[in-house]
Subunit: 341 residues, 2 copies
């Protein structure tokens, strides 16, 4: 416990932290990208072009980095986590490809989404191929650890799908409580981050308490991450997020700021409630953003995000982990929940 705390202290200077995260992401990419490219080559030639279009857009390898660090944190080589890192990136990209169709989003990472470029049919099938490939990667050599990792990943994928289904259902509802919204975001984003943060430890055959602590770290981090994402979806700059601002509001998505504002007793919150009852023009979106700000929902969402980040770091500090990788996990958690990530 003290180990993590002391390393956390040394990572406190923001300069150190982002340098270390940049190094970590670079290291992850160099280990995982070639392996990912090799397995994508197993897909049918008809799908590869579309999938490369999607993958070439980049991606932060955040989930892959969590997998590698979770292997290292329990004393294994980062390489032990590579099949898990590849599998989790496949599942993540499958979900992005399908979510973009579901949400009708035209752009991701400043480029046309897969369905916008290749059509809905290709995007559905390409996503399906990636989802199945994730299972194949882990079941190729069915050691006890890989089989367990496959089961953990399948369960997390199902939880993510359930969160996405809740998200879709919420668009047709007039309001969503903050608790319901947090439950939905725990599924939509938390489940896969929880899986990522523990999958390396599963592959390393770590004791269950370490795996559990890492899973709790990842789940809390996921909710913190989604809270920041919700704020950026409303107040972020398109140039940084790679997506048009205001989309979430226009689609009547029940994000955390909206759930907070519409269930608050403030005048702004009540005005927002009426506004969201119908279609939103561009002007309405601007008004909605101002009402969200006035209701205090932006600050409250950031506060909730910070509290989940603390929960994540607490879980990390309670676990029996190696100091170096644990400090990198903490630095990564700070990085992905920063407003300017």
């Amino acid at each position: 416990m003290s180990v993590v705390t002391s390393v956390e202290a040394s990572a406190e200077q923001p300069g150190n932290r982002s340098a270390s995260v940049a190094e970590l992401i670079g290291r992850t990419r160099s280990l995982v990208a070639p392996a990912l490219e090799a397995v994508v080559h197993r897909l049918s030639p008809e799908l590869r072009g579309a999938i490369r279009h999607h993958l070439d857009g980049g991606g932060k390898y955040l989930r892959a980095a969590l997998v590698l660090l979770s292997a290292a944190a329990v004393g294994a080589d980062e390489e032990v986590g590579v099949p898990g890192a590849v599998a989790i990136e496949l599942v993540h990209n499958f979900s992005l490809i399908h979510d973009d169709i579901v949400d009708g989003d035209l752009e991701r990472r400043h480029r046309p989404t897969l369905w916008a470029a290749y059509g809905t049919g290709h995007a559905i099938i390409a996503g399906d191929g990636l989802a199945v490939l994730a299972m194949q990667v882990l079941l190729d050599e069915p050691t006890a650890e890989r089989v367990r990792a496959a089961k953990v990943l399948a369960d997390a994928t199902q939880a993510m799908i359930a969160g996405q289904a809740q998200d879709m259902a919420s668009e047709r509802r007039t309001s969503l409580s903050v608790a319901e919204c947090l439950e939905m975001e725990a599924g939509k984003t938390g489940a896969l981050l929880s899986c990522a943060a523990s999958l390396g430890a599963v592959l390393a055959g770590a004791p269950q308490p370490s795996i559990d602590a890492l899973a709790v770290f990842g789940l809390n981090l996921g909710i913190a991450f989604q809270a920041v994402d919700d704020v950026l979806g409303i107040w972020g700059q398109s140039a940084l997020t790679g997506k048009p601002v205001g989309n979430d509001l226009r689609q009547h998505k029940k994000t955390l700021p909206v759930a907070i504002a519409t269930s608050s007793p403030t005048a702004a919150g009540q005005q927002l409630n009426s506004l969201l009852a119908s279609e939103l023009s561009d002007w309405d979106v601007e008004v909605a953003v101002r009402l969200l700000e006035e209701s205090g929902a932006r600050d409250e969402t950031m506060a909730i995000g910070e509290s989940y980040l603390r929960g994540a770091l607490d879980a990390l500090s309670r676990a029996q982990l190696l100091a170096g990788p644990a400090a990198e996990l903490a630095a990564l958690a700070h990085y992905v929940t920063a407003r300017d990530r």
Copy 2:
């Protein structure tokens, strides 16, 4: 070998055969439907309604029956095959739900398709949920046999997706050779039937030669089945198939009759080639059907189907299997490749 042959002989009377198949399907349904219902209940409540709409349409439990029989054929109880039967029906229904979106089909089993009733987004997510659930069912209790079954099923699912991708790509091509078409159909339909016909034996821990023979039986049966399906898609009655006739032609699908006709040196085949170069009106569809008939493609497709059926039955008779279940597999093969199925 002689065992199968003699039982095949006793199943030769068509009356016996269809009575036995009806009994088999009934038995399969009573074993598999409750287990399927139980696992669907594990999906998020937001998805269950849509999935029940789809499953309530019926379905022949053909793949499930193959799984149970393949367990029985290697000497195990049919119950041993149930997790595999449930998993394969989940994968089959996932593929139907997504294919209906891809093909823009509005009706299946005389009812609106899932996407037509609930929207594309729900249909995508519902299909995803079923695909992942199939893996969860097998990995819930990761015995060596179930893990192997999960791997076999994941590989078959990927081959099916590749076949579907080839099918989509072929719609944009002016022609497809008969060999290319058969390869595509081996993936699209053969891969999952091959998996179904061997999955029970995998779960029963049967020796590899028996598993392989059953897989070859299923692959050949799948191609024979698809050949009949292609014929019914053009000459079948909507009332029996549950789908509008002429859709395949209108969508420029390269089915076996089309591949045969357009690569034949007949005048009818060459006229069909020109006709298919542009959009088809209802009148054009009628002309295309007549040209297909004139080119001999209908008879040729049925002949190819029969030859694959013989290949399937040969594989069955070469395998070391129990006589009773082997005879039921043979009867089922005859039944699903009959024109009036």
